[in-house]
């Protein structure tokens, strides 16, 4: 069975500092990995995905994520955080084919001015 863990419920970072939101996964076979962001009273918005190829994936709003197969991780990163990055972030995984997308429980990011 596939699963996703986001070990931190909350991440606080000062504006201008680098941020990391952690995600680890478990699937049999090769994973498809995704990051989504949710702002208050809105649906999830797609940020980036890893399917195959380069382990460093770049996405929207300056975010990037690094796929690490040996550590089964897909951490979300940004070199310089903005107050407007404050939101709820979800990591998600699915196996190849038409298997369901499985979401982590989410990490709330607060960027403090």
């Amino acid at each position: 069975a596939q699963s996703v863990a986001q070990p931190e419920d909350q991440v606080n970072v000062a504006e201008g500092n680098p941020l990391t939101v952690k995600c680890t996964y478990s699937v049999s076979g090769n994973p498809y990995l995704f990051w989504y962001v949710q702002y208050p009273n809105r649906g999830l918005q797609f940020l980036l995905k890893y399917i195959t190829g380069d382990n460093l994936v770049k996405g929207s709003y300056g975010f990037e994520a690094e796929f690490n197969k040996s550590q089964t991780s897909f951490h979300l990163k940004k070199p310089s955080a903005l107050v407007s990055d404050s939101a709820l972030y979800f990591c998600a995984v699915r196996q190849s084919g038409n298997t369901p997308l499985v979401f982590g429980k989410g990490t709330r990011l607060s960027v403090i001015a």
Binding site: R42, G43, L44, Q45, K49, S96, G97, N98, L101, G104
Partner: protein, 114 residues
């Protein structure tokens, strides 16, 4: 651009009543999904449809039903609402059901069952 439209945006419903949550997409996506979002539990899949005319059960299907008569619409019905169905419901779609396609989400329906 509309993308996915969900209606209503919020609703208070008496236990035992029925309700249909509406979802319409204008992207001609083949696959559609219904999730519920609960605090501390993330998003859980209720039902899905890989293409018009087909549906399938997700992780938490009990108490819910869906239909997919055409490509654009994917309504979710609660036949007899119970308080544990109080949640935020999100409809989503993807171009195809295959694993590498991102999903696009509506802004949700906030449902309270009293």
């Amino acid at each position: 651009t509309a993308g996915i439209t969900q209606a209503p945006t919020s609703q208070i419903l008496a236990a035992g009543r029925s309700m249909t949550l509406r979802c319409t997409q204008d992207m001609r996506h083949n696959a559609m999904y219904w999730y519920r979002q609960d605090l501390g539990l993330g998003l859980r899949l209720i039902h899905y449809s890989n293409t018009a005319g087909t549906t399938g059960k997700g992780e938490v299907p009990d108490g819910y039903s869906v239909s997919r008569a055409n490509t654009d619409d994917f309504p979710l019905t609660l036949a007899s609402a119970v308080p544990s169905q109080t949640s935020v419901y999100f409809c989503a779609s993807s171009v195809t059901p295959s694993g590498n396609q991102p999903q696009h989400f509506g802004d949700g329906t906030r449902l309270s069952i009293l």
